[in-house]
Amino acid sequence: MSNILSVMTFLPILGVLLLLFIPKESKGTLRGVAMLTTIATFAVSLPILTGFQTNADFQFVENVPWIAAGPFAMRYNIGIDGISLWLVMLTTFIMPIAVLSTWTAVEEKVKEYMICLLLLETGMLGAFISLDLFLFYIFWEVMLIPMYFMIGIWGGKNRIYAALKFFIYTMVGSMLMLVALIYLYFLGTKAGITDFSLLHFFDLKIDPATQTWLFLAFAFAFAIKVPMFPLHTWLPDAHTEAPTAGSVILAAILLKMGTYGYVRFAMPLFPEATHRFTPLIATLAVIGIIYAALVAMVQEDVKKLVAYSSVAHLGFVMLGVFSLNEQGVTGGMLQMLNHGISTGALFLIVGFIYERRHTRLITDFGGLSKQMPIFATIFMIVTLSSIGLPGTNGFVGEFLILIGSFESSLRWYAVIASSGVIFAAVYMLWMFQRVMFGELDNPKNQVLADLNLREIAIMVPLVVLIFVMGVYPNPFIEKMTPSVMKVIAKARIEPVATAKVVVPVVAQPEVAPVQPAAEQPVTAH
């Protein structure tokens, strides 16, 4: 099937159309149809994984004209490489779990909820596979809408504030990116580029001053999405208020849009600017790691704690990605998947206890392990994975990131960031201890039921993946390596590479990178 990517991306829309014709009273059917749609989407995505050739090229490419008017030509240009492959797989894998998790959690407006979930899936998949900058922007914005409604309609008591904050923050960022996108296009047209295709812009030489501005606009949009300190304030609100499935998707996939944006767009498009801003971004990443860990430590709400741990984890991802060597970027990419799985799982776990007790305050719990042994086991595994214990997936990612950044110019950042690993252990284990161990003295907790079959079914795939990726991460790394190397080659500027060789002799590697004279930079007017 040559258009398998399109089928996968728009299959959820088909599900939405089906849902529209199902009366809103038949909740079971609505849930079933949504579930089947997401499972079908996952099934469609499997041949993509198996058919993916391990090389750096974009595969399953579809490229047809879409809009052609005036100075612009937009194309429906999609495809995947090793970078997007796993994020696409993560999306199709998490979605059935997210739908299943809402089975009893969402009783009101089931139809609308399922429609939102499916629209969101199309938006996310579309953003990951777009190779046309304009198309990417469309999907990037479209994603906002269902998430906004999910937080705003089915969220907690402060949901409206959280939903608006989420929407406006992201929109401000993406709007500036839109201007940068337009500007980039006009730069391209001067160099003979005739459409928005990302691949053409990779070859465009842009002078460093212009790169700075363009990079800032892109980086700002992505930094909000990641979210990086100090733009992270929307995240705890959004996570705390969002319904479980919303939190899971937000953490597992939506946040990856930001880091993916750096790897796919900001870094390879603007290498000089990337080089220039690496210290700043690394600083913010490290501050994010430490700050979020400290804040997480004092949270009384489990969900908020997990939300802050997300900020810390994504700080690691950013650090890895910006070390711009094989270990660092691979570790960053892997950590994106790990975070998707373990933090997604953590939000599910929080959802389970919230559904039972309608509270998330740590002080309301204690000694749950006696009452809910299966739950305790799963929770423990996920917690350890989130901390990055060897043998779980979290370890591989964080280890690669720290090695990568230690080997790069970010050595001292890596040193400080390592302390974040310890902090993570502190706040996660402390939380686990207060919730699961101790006296089971609260009478409300003494009657809690352990996980039922549906809930176990939700968690098992995640737990399996935690171990598989922790023990044998090679298949994951293998498929992404060529693409990772390609990104590094594009995002690294040559002078640095040569300077490195000359270091022992000249011993002055700190000079600003010089644009190779042979290439004509396109200047801003």
Binding site: G70, F149, G152, V179, I182, Y185, F186
Partner: protein, 487 residues
């Protein structure tokens, strides 16, 4: 001067104003029909006017690409005029469709409404077609006078009276500016014909001070009609007080008409002074967007909110005007068309939700619409997202082209201010959605009934907002073909 009558008649070429003729004849016929057909319901008049509008639109569309002029070159039926005429036909058609239900409810179902709508449309069409300052002025007057009547149409309602009177007084005042400007331009160049003014102005080298002041006054006159800050003060009161279908029409039609004449005058007659007016438009665009959006943030009344937001939207369009390149100006055309669909669509929902006596028009009254009337709320959501400029809607594509025009012309900061405004505007559009979906209904929406004409209007505006958002190529190409004749 000796006038050769036979020659004069040859240059008249009635075909150029055939759409206007059709609408005028239908309008006058409807006046008579209204008197002689004793029917309490006036719904049939809506359908008849719609037929007239469709006929006029069809006639106009048939002239695409032919570029004929008439009346010794004082009107022209070129692509630019035709594109705008179609916008007017759509705006008037949608307004007519939502009128009957509204007027019935408000108890002012006089049949004269429909002829007045048609006459104001004739005025708009003349403004788009006018290639002579006199034609443009006559068109503007015809449009405005009919609108004054329409704004005060609900005679029993004090607010409607206030609206009509306010609009009339301020409108007459601004028309004075326009006319004075035209007189100065005539004095400076010796012509009222736009092409001739352009020829004289381009030979002046250093722009004549008289011509500059004239152009400035003309700009003021149009700025009033478009509601550009600081000439926007009338908008909220007039929009709030006028009958909602009339407000819907006012927000889309006359605005587009004024833009048509404005664009033609400045791009054809005064391109030699572009350096002067381009910077001025830059400032006006920033002011208009920002003031419009900031004041809209605090509005509870939906009509007022949409009034302020319409000011902001005029600001977005001005961004394309300041850019003054094909991307920007064609963006204006595309945006005006999209705006007609999305804004009148939103007003149609406002008509449905409101209760007798123009009550129930606050944001809070939309609470629970999403659950009681999911289809209506979903359509409204699309309009609101389009107004906020979020894909995949026509509003987004329009803004994309407007801001792209600015970037192309080197006005990066204008584009940045524009998109930031766009992000700020999302807040008050989202606020409506917050009430529709996230707050419980205060009472049942039992009174919301959909009649056939309103359903048709909603369907048309829904498709008109969605389809160009997904596959905009064709319309964009039409818009670009249309602005070719003035650039």
């Amino acid at each position: 001067m000796e006038i050769n009558v036979a020659q004069l008649f040859q240059t008249i070429n009635l075909a150029t104003i055939m759409p206007e003729i059709i609408l005028s004849v239908v309008g006058m016929a409807l006046l008579l029909v209204n008197v002689f057909v004793p029917s309490k319901s006036k719904g049939y008049l809506a359908w008849l006017s719609l037929a007239g509008l469709v006929a006029a639109g069809y006639t106009a569309a048939c002239g695409w690409g032919q570029n004929v002029d008439g009346f010794s070159g004082s009107v022209v039926l070129d692509n630019f005029a035709i594109f705008f005429k179609l916008i007017f036909v759509i705006a008037a058609g949608l307004a007519v469709l939502i009128s009957d239900q509204y007027m019935e409810r408000e108890g002012c179902n006089q049949g004269e409404l429909y002829p007045m709508v048609l006459f104001t449309t004739v005025g708009m069409m003349l403004m788009a077609s006018g290639t002579d300052m006199m034609t443009i002025f006559l068109g503007l007057e015809l449009m405005s006078i009919s609108l004054y009547v329409l704004a005060g149409f609900n005679r029993a309602n004090v607010k409607s009276n206030e609206s009509g009177l306010k609009y009339f007084l301020l409108g007459a005042f601004s028309t004075g500016f326009l006319l004075y400007g035209m007189a100065l331009v005539y004095g400076a160049t010796g012509y009222t014909r736009i092409a001739k003014i352009a020829a004289v102005a381009s030979q002046m080298g250093q722009p004549d001070i008289l011509l500059l002041i004239g152009a400035l006054l003309i700009l003021t006159g149009f700025a009033f009609k478009i509601a550009i800050v600081p000439f926007h003060m009338w908008t909220p009161d007039v929009y709030e007080g006028a009958p909602t279908p009339v407000t819907a029409l006012m927000s889309a039609g006359p605005k587009a008409a004024a833009f048509a004449a404005f664009l033609r005058m400045f791009l054809v007659a005064f391109p030699s002074m572009k350096a002067d007016w381009s910077d001025l438009l830059w400032i006006l665009a920033v002011l208009t967007m920002t003031v419009g959006n900031i004041t809209a943030l605090r509005q509870d009344n939906i009509k007022r909110m949409l009034a302020y937001s319409s000011i902001a939207h005029a600001g977005y369009a001005l961004v394309g005007f300041a850019a003054a390149n094909t991307t920007g100006t064609s963006g204006i055309l595309f945006y005006m068309l999209s705006y007609a669909f999305m804004n009148i669509g939103a007003f149609a929902i406002v008509v449905l939700v409101a209760k007798q006596g123009e009550t129930n028009g606050n944001v809070q009254d939309f609470a629970g619409l999403g659950h009681k009337r999911p289809a209506l709320a979903a359509i409204m959501t699309l309009f609101l997202f389009s107004l906020a400029g979020i894909p995949p809607t026509a509003g987004f594509i329009g803004k994309f082209y407007l801001f792209s025009g600015a970037v192309e012309a080197g006005y990066i900061w204008l584009a940045v201010i524009g998109v930031l405004n766009s992000a700020a505007s999302a807040y008050y559009y989202l606020r409506v959605m917050v009430y529709m979906y996230m707050k419980p209904a205060e009472e049942e929406f039992g009174w919301v009934s959909l009649t056939a004409p309103v359903s048709l209007a909603l369907l048309v505006s829904f498709l008109g907002t969605l389809i160009p958002g997904v596959v905009p190529s064709y319309l964009l190409q039409l818009a670009q073909a249309a602005v070719k004749v003035i650039s």
